[in-house]
């Protein structure tokens, strides 16, 4: 490859757009099926709260947006960890997670728009976030909810929007600092840029440690407004992170198959595989820690979260699928050394993990927002495809902007000789 630069060819662009179009067609067919397939549960709802197919579109947009945004964000986290820990092995592939951050600015716009659509566009009085219903706060009113009213100091629209803007500003600012130093390093060389990136990475990790938790409460946990879990921030983080690592792995393998990254060896893959293996277990650990305590204590206001998911035909299968795809499968397949060093196993597990954690977010968001009107069909698949391809498109654009290998990274030589 000349100059080691990734070329985002028109053919590839066309291919991505075609896949996106297929996703769109699937989504439209899905919508038609829902809209004309009979609603089923209308009689239970009062006149103002009719289920409309658009509600399901809004909720799905939110699921995909949160999931893809998390992959982009934790991609940057992965990069920051490499700098903070002074890791040498990853210097050769660091441009791939670095390109993930390019999505953050898109995600900012999407999050604001979809938040608006899902809560204020209706039809009817639909709020994806139940706490946005203003009648809940009217004392003495028939809808008055003392529990939600008690959370008003944190869960109110102005503060919520301020937080949203602050998260994205902090994340994107830190990402830009790291990215700019990385680009300057390519031109100027020297150790100064590496040192600065290390400082920025450390600051990013500290910011991320706080904001990832609060963002998870804001964007996912508060859908089930009554429910609470102290594990939730960690839970969302681990789900994002393992999906991001799987995405990095898949992209690295794909790039090598396209003839890029000629010096990538099986030890790099082994380390990525170990990351994926370890964080799948970490996710399962967090998942189980959350589940066991709630199951054992059996306090109704906590247990209702799992009752909603396990005692309904709509979500019970997702509940079990979630554990199989995200824990059992990666755990058993990636256990041996050989499977972590061969691309075929990594590719299969990578895809399973990426799809599996989509289901994880589906299970976190849908039951609380759509309840019995939720479902899984072509609409869900189509929108996920659209979001995935859009993300890839942006990542490829980011990759094509700069050389694929950071030539002046002080640890690049170490990365070439990575051997475990």
């Amino acid at each position: 490859m000349s100059e080691d630069k990734f070329v985002f060819t028109p053919a590839l662009k066309k291919k991505l757009l075609i896949i996106k179009l297929v996703g769109l067609v699937l989504a439209v067919i899905g919508v038609v099926i829902i809209a004309f397939g009979g609603h089923g549960h209308e009689e239970a709802a009062d006149a103002g709260n009719h289920f409309h197919w658009l509600h399901r579109v809004w909720v799905n947009l939110w699921i995909n947006n949160i999931y893809v945004l998390g992959i982009a964000l934790t991609g940057v986290l992965f990069l920051a960890i490499q700098y903070a820990s002074q890791a040498g092995w990853s210097a050769y592939i660091k441009r791939i997670p670095e390109a993930f951050g390019e999505w953050l600015i898109v995600a900012f716009g999407l999050t604001l728009i979809i938040f608006g659509l899902a809560n204020f566009a209706g039809p009817g009085h639909f709020h994806m976030f139940h706490w946005l219903d203003s009648s809940l706060y009217v004392e003495g009113g028939e809808n008055f909810d003392p529990v939600i009213a008690g959370k008003k100091a944190y869960l109110n629209l102005p503060f919520y929007l301020i937080r949203m803007v602050v998260y994205f500003m902090l994340w994107y600012m830190m990402y830009r600092f790291i990215r700019n130093e990385s680009i300057k390093e390519d031109i100027e060389g020297g150790y100064d840029h590496w040192r600065k990136m290390r400082v920025y990475s450390t600051i990013f990790i500290i910011i991320f440690a706080v904001t990832s938790s609060t963002a998870a409460w804001d964007w996912v946990l508060s859908i089930d407004t009554h429910w609470y879990s102290t594990m939730f921030g960690w839970y969302v983080f681990s789900s994002w992170f393992v999906a991001a690592i799987a995405a990095v792995t898949l992209l690295v393998i794909w790039l090598r198959e396209q003839g890029y990254l000629p010096n990538l060896n099986s030890s790099h893959l082994h380390d990525l595989g170990k990351y994926m293996f370890a964080f799948s277990i970490f996710w399962a650990y967090i998942w189980f820690s959350q589940f066991l305590l709630i199951y054992y204590a059996n306090i109704p206001e906590e247990a209702v979260y799992f009752v909603e998911r396990l005692r309904s035909g709509q979500y019970a299968w997702v509940f079990y699928l979630n554990i199989i795809l995200n824990f059992m499968f990666p755990f058993l397949v990636l256990m041996t050394r050989d499977s972590k060093r061969h691309t075929i196993f990594l590719k299969i597990v990578g895809w399973v993990v990426v799809i599996g954690h989509w289901f994880d977010f589906y299970l976190m968001i849908t039951p609380g927002s759509l309840g019995e009107n939720g479902g899984f069909g072509l609409l869900e698949i189509g929108l996920a495809v659209i979001f995935g391809v859009s993300f890839l498109y942006k990542v490829f654009m980011g990759l094509a902007k700069v050389p694929l290998v950071a030539h002046n990274h002080p640890m690049l030589e170490e990365s070439y000789h990575h051997h475990i």
Binding site: F288, A297, M335, T336, H419
Partner: protein, 175 residues
């Protein structure tokens, strides 16, 4: 001639020279009994042509055993032998068993690995250590070649070892 195992020992001061020496000695068709180093040398396993350790398989087998035993124990105890209502749950309910199962899986796989390693490496109490050269715990690398394992004569082996840059060549006989 004394009876017992007769070794030729090449003593080296530098790990790079040892790695090259191992390659040349093996290329000459001589079988190396063992190499002793004061610290782990990167690439030594490859140079000696060792196959990968099978210890991970042992870990998996013992881990599976621990997993099965833990579940069997708990189901038998709480589900059959001494039924107790705890927190209003079924007698035999899986989720509370998972932490114990996890711990026993880890415990058995770790202990199983350690003891297997002891057995395979012939480490046991009151074992008389065979010390080829005291300096292998300090600053020297030693390549030990068992003369009886090789078809080539003693002089010829010594000659090849000398060519590879050994600082000393000693001979040692163990009863």
């Amino acid at each position: 001639m004394a009876t017992g195992t007769n070794y030729i020992l090449g003593v080296y001061g530098d790990e790079e020279i040892v790695l090259k020496a191992i390659k040349r000695i093996r290329d000459a068709g001589i079988k190396i009994h063992e190499v002793f180093s004061p610290y782990p040398v990167h690439g030594m396993d490859d140079a000696l042509g060792y196959k990968r350790s099978r210890l991970p398989r042992v870990a998996f087998i013992f881990g599976t055993l621990g997993f099965a035993l833990a579940l069997l124990m708990q189901y038998w105890m709480l589900g059959y032998d001494w039924q107790m209502i705890i927190g209003g749950k079924d007698f035999a309910s899986l989720p509370p068993f998972i932490p114990v199962t996890f711990e026993l899986t880890v415990l058995l796989s770790a202990l199983g690995m350690v003891f297997t390693f002891f057995v395979v490496s012939d480490l046991k109490p009151y074992k008389r250590p065979v010390i080829f050269d005291r300096r292998i715990t300090d600053d020297k690398h030693v390549i030990a070649i068992d003369i009886d394992e090789n078809s080539i004569g003693k002089e010829e082996i010594s000659g090849i070892v000398a060519e590879t840059g050994a600082e000393e060549i000693n001979e040692k006989i163990f009863e």
